[in-house]
Point group: C2
Chain length 218, copies 2
Amino acid sequence: MTCIITAFAQSPDRGRGLARDMRVRWALEEVGQPYDVRLVTFRELKERAHLALHPFGQIPTYEEGNVALFETGAILMRIAECHAGLLPEEPGARARAIAWMFAALNTLEPPIVEREMASLLERDKPWYAERLPLLDDRVRLRLGELSVRLGDAEWLDGPFSAGDLLMVTVLRRLEGLEILEAYPNLVTYIDRAKARPAYKRAFDAQLAVFTGKVSTEG
Amino acid sequence: MTCIITAFAQSPDRGRGLARDMRVRWALEEVGQPYDVRLVTFRELKERAHLALHPFGQIPTYEEGNVALFETGAILMRIAECHAGLLPEEPGARARAIAWMFAALNTLEPPIVEREMASLLERDKPWYAERLPLLDDRVRLRLGELSVRLGDAEWLDGPFSAGDLLMVTVLRRLEGLEILEAYPNLVTYIDRAKARPAYKRAFDAQLAVFTGKVSTEG
């Protein structure tokens, strides 16, 4: 059964693949599942029909038969439960890959988003310049720990998993910034992930929404 | 097999049960599983032995036979996989409860922690007073959406689940603050959860570490 996901009708990152639908598109490509996309405007995000699907008025959502989900992490868990390719089968290895999913979303992403929000929303405030080093330090703390743990391994724990997928999409928020480039093994980790055919297909699909070369549901 | 979790040797919240070991203790009490606790000092958190268990030098960790995990969300997933009582069996309902787990950790907790960190680390900065309303607005946005979705239901989606457990422990970070008390249904939701016998046992166990009335592993 083809699932339906939602994505921004107007991509705020201009097709850079940083919106969270990219994470779900990539996961579906990794497991070889087709999907339809319903594009949602910013106004529609806060309307009753979308809030019934997503109580916090965000994208992506995921609909598959009678199952309707929100939260990217939960959508990836669902895809991984139904299809091989995102989580190991051995229960211990599976639990560790899930730990990396949560680490990406709950340990790495919050300080990265906080720094990003400050640069978007507080850049013209008198305190911006003085606060930025504090925010950078919080991000660096986590990048440093992640870099040490990754070492020269290819992926975070054995074969590529949904933990790597989420971690790479979180780290990509810092792409091109000096703060990330201080950790060469993290940069090559991101590049390694972006070389995956499934990543490329997902990236091209979300880019096509921005360039207008897209055919979507119905 | 009795699992071993880690907790702070010196509880920074003075036994209020806001450290993340409370989440794992509560989950283990809900499923009726015994556990041992290893207390870790702040110095030990950053030492090699602990970093091998937890790459980001935090608590809690979870060891059960050959499985060693970090990240509270992943630990709860593991406990829920092995024991009934934290996630529904029906796959769709299970996926929705997992969505609430991620929503608690990835949508509600980040703005709440950001506000908390500002009040802890930036209270003496010249910008603190002007920034606080911005931070409050970000928290209120999510509390408002959550309050609407909860309505007058007992729990977020059917019976009590690990999603409620995580959401309540996240909301408790705001306990006693006006910002939370503006949402009476969230306050009674928290109270309802705190009335659960498993919550009480877990709370008393973490409090005993602070008051010194504790027997821990070996």
